[in-house]
């Protein structure tokens, strides 16, 4: 468990990071919290020539509200989301997901942006970001792009991010309706990645019908999955038990799990269904109880 030799640099400015990335391309790796990259280095699954630590770059951390968005700096630690209790009522799903990510040691170090860029199909933030309809701000030398979460996750550890780009911010739109959400995760022990997890985020209209629905699934496919058919089955509907059960079945159908040591494909698909069903009930109860 010793990594191969590499160069290490920790620039103080984003421009410097971007120019180094432009220069080294695929030979470089950005280091954020290190909770995925360092294990990969130690197992020698990754052997970059240079590791560029973004830990000293200002302005990449923090959670704020602006222009109908919640903005999360890419280097914001999981732990900081966990303690952002003022998100309760607006983005329940973030608050419920954060404490389920691994254990406190990992949460103190790991970053939201790092998790999204790493794109582990079993990473929790991917499903959450799909459920809340987040956008990702990514920069390269001289260019900035804003990528929607939907479509960003393309395969295991594969995203729409280019090798010369750094993610700087996550933007989550927050509307004015009553919202509620939650995150359910099946893990084998604390600190484990999900066997199956589901993120649910619901906005109710003034008429009590579902105004918008976001459902993200974790660890049941090659990448985080947005359960679009299930979402569509909810929008405009009164959230009855039958409507919820039908949507949950569609979410289960959207899962593309593979059998492994954690269970059969049928098992994972059914747990996805059960979690979405339970999650929708909680989300709707919360939204109904919430002040607009």
């Amino acid at each position: 468990m010793f990594p191969a030799a590499f160069d290490y640099i920790a620039p103080g400015a984003l421009d410097e990071v971007l120019s180094l990335l432009g220069q080294h391309g695929d030979d470089a790796k950005v280091l954020a919290g290190g909770q995925s990259l360092i294990p990969l280095l130690k197992l020698r699954f990754a052997a970059p020539v240079i590791v560029i630590d973004i830990g000293r770059v200002d302005g990449l951390e923090g959670i704020s509200r602006e222009n109908g968005h919640v903005r999360i700096g890419a280097r914001t630690r999981h732990r900081d989301v966990e303690s952002a209790t003022d998100l309760r009522g607006t983005l329940d799903v973030l608050l419920d997901a954060a404490p389920l990510i691994s254990d406190p040691l990992i949460r103190n170090m790991g970053t939201v942006g790092g998790s999204i860029c790493h794109a582990d199909p079993a990473g929790d933030w991917g499903a959450v970001m799909l459920a809340v309809g987040a956008e990702f701000v990514v920069k390269s030398a001289g260019e900035e792009r804003v990528l929607p979460a939907a479509g960003f996750f393309q395969g295991p550890f594969t995203t729409g991010l280019q090798s010369n780009e750094v993610m700087t911010e996550i933007r989550i739109p927050v509307g004015s309706g009553k919202s509620g959400g939650t995150y359910l995760k099946l893990e084998r022990k604390v600190g484990d990645f999900a066997s199956v997890a589901a993120a649910v985020h619901i906005v109710l209209g003034g008429d009590g019908r579902v105004a918008s629905a976001g459902i993200g699934l974790c660890a049941v496919g090659a990448h985080s999955i947005k359960a679009t058919a299930a979402e569509a089955a909810l929008v405009g509907q009164e959230p009855t038990d039958d409507v919820i059960a039908a949507a949950a079945r569609l979410a289960g159908d959207a899962a593309e799990p593979k059998a492994d040591i954690r269970g059969s494909a049928e098992y994972k698909r059914d747990v996805a269904r059960v979690f979405v069903q339970r999650g929708l009930h909680t989300a709707i109860d919360r939204a109904q109880g919430a002040a607009a």
Partner: protein, 792 residues
Amino acid sequence: MAVETAEATEAARQAMGGIGVSLARKEDARFIHGQGHYVDDVVLPGMLHMVIVRSPHAHARIKGIDSTAAMAIPGVVAVVTGELLAQHKLAWMPTLSGDTQAVLATDKVRFQGQEVACVIAETKYIAEDAAALVSVDYEPLQAITSPQQAIAPGAIVIRDEKEGQTDNKIYHWEAGDKDATDAAFARAAKVVSLETFYPRCHPAPLETCGCVADLDPVTGNATIYMTSQAPHAHRTLFAIVAGLPEEKIRIISPDLGGGFGNKVPIYPGYVVATAASLLIGRPVKWIEDRTDNLISTGFARDYYMDGSVAIDENGKFIGLRVNLLSDNGAFFADAQPSKFKAGLFHIVTGSYDIPAAHIVANGAYTNKAPGGVAYRCSFRVTEASYFIERLVESAAVELGQDPVTIRLNNFIQPEAFPYQSASGFEYDSGDYPRAMQVALDMLGYDELRKEQAEKRAKGELMGIGVASFTEVVGAGKGKDYDIAGLRMFDSAELRVHPTGKAILKLGVKSQGQGHETTFAQIVAEELGIPASDVEVREGDTDNTPFGLGTYASRSTPVGGAATAMVSRKLRDKGKLIAAHLFEADVADIEFARGKYNVKGSPDNVKTIQDIAFAAYTNLPDGLEAGLEGVTYYDPPNMTYPFGTYLVVVDIDKGTGQVKVRRVVAVDDCGVRINPMIVEGQIHGGLTEGFAIAFMELITFDDEGNCIGSNFMDYLIPTAWETPRFELGQTVTPSPHHPIGAKGIGESATVGSPAAFVNAVIDALSHLGITNIDMPLTSDKVWAALRSKGVTE
């Protein structure tokens, strides 16, 4: 004489720290302050580092090894291969079970992770870089991943290098009486059967294995710092394997970060590091990483068991039949007494009065890591206990009886001890119904059964699991029990210095059990020297008497007995000195709690400290100076700890997750020396039992790739998932042990898995679900429910 108040007596008892006092552990200060001293803390001048190149294949022929690229890296000192070792007759070594094991593979690799070459370099980084460059040309062969596959006709022969070995069978072993058992089954009113698998798991001590071998080229002295639960046995085996003169070998096993059986065998890494130090003339350090430890060192269990109990018309068990097939991996390197090919599995009659039993055991080679060790279990007692307790659960279900009632009806009764079991053990003492009753009362069993019925009516799943285990621990006696010929006695050497402070040296070796405290307490009890004045030393073969080491819960039963006996020896010598000081007859000297007096004058005392001083300053003529002794204790029998464990679970129908609501554990380990340490041992064992029942698993895919090779895949529980434990006790002393103690290190690992599994089965049996093999992961429970049409 002043009238002693109850408080003063209690204060004196605490200050002495004898038997029954929950003395804070003497060793904890250094551990809590991060000042423990482990093998990896050993740094010697000129020390080199060794890394092992391991096989990626489970079964492959080696066509060539090219180490040129590795050797070309600056700082690489040597690349050791099997071929090089063969020149020194060290390519193969004997195992604890009388088989042979490759030190470094020469002809074939036989499991994934097998040791193929070793790189020795100036730093560990360099060694790792070079190891990645050792190129081995493999010709993959078909891998055999189960013992059933292994013994099927026509299976590829794994051990084709062994003369006369034409198949993959290792041993055939039987215990009990076949004819008597057949007769019992012939007259049975009912026969209940169970087929179950106790999967492979791993002791996974937090400190992995490793060593620093330091062979002095000038003196020829070999000092080997080693993660060893049995340093003396290892020294002797080193002398035999490596042909080193034994008086020049010194094994030092410093603080151990857990062992659980994993540090009983001798591993190839130790042998190569030692050989390399000898050849190079510099110290060589080898420390496993987590994956090395999980994929190549002593695993546990991997037993396929099926059997039946014959029951008469009154519901009494009259016969037991068990067949087992063990998966021993590529080399038969199990750690167990040599005469017993399946360890002490024949304790399988458990806590029940079963007049006839017959056990048939077969072992097979597979392409998996070797070295079946008893993971916190006395030589396969865990598998046996699991089987009988699961079979009794099945019998309860089939007979429609409460699992408590069926046990009470069949227990060996308290007046039946010493009890001769059908498979050949003599149980020393026990009171099984009482332990059961204490557990039932603690749990509130009847209330919970009512709750279960109400829940069941609503379609909710709740279960109560029962297990009443009996263990057999503390081997010898030496005549019947030996490892590689070394008889299983143990030793204690006690030296009291002139100021009355003592050093106790033992042949056993703590891995976290608290020996420095417990054994000092035995001396305090027997000799009246406060436990705080007794320093306990273990692990250095130059400075401790020969012993067989710590495993199979044998330290207190054997090493503890030796400690009591040597203390008594010194106590008797003290009488001679006291008689001299009092100018009285020895026959008139009395001793109690560290004080000697002449009969009839209890107020005029000489303390043990006075006596110790006199032993060096004022001796009677003709008496040898000093207050020092050594005892080698060969136990007349083993001890038989027992208990009842009760578990309550709730099951989530939607996900199959099992939530353990309560665990009540009533243990009887005879006399408890340090009750706090005993409870700590039970907590640890229950945690591991819980983990084995629900989480821990080493498994393999069809190609023999090991799944479970790091702590993301090999799941050990944290405080978060571990249930809360409610402990109770009964005390039935062992009649043959000097202080009545039985050993507690392993009871909970032995007894609890069946209780956890029985609880789940109890929740599901009304649906027709009778068995799920461990670990009871949520997907397996879900699949069982789904097979019966249950869903959320």
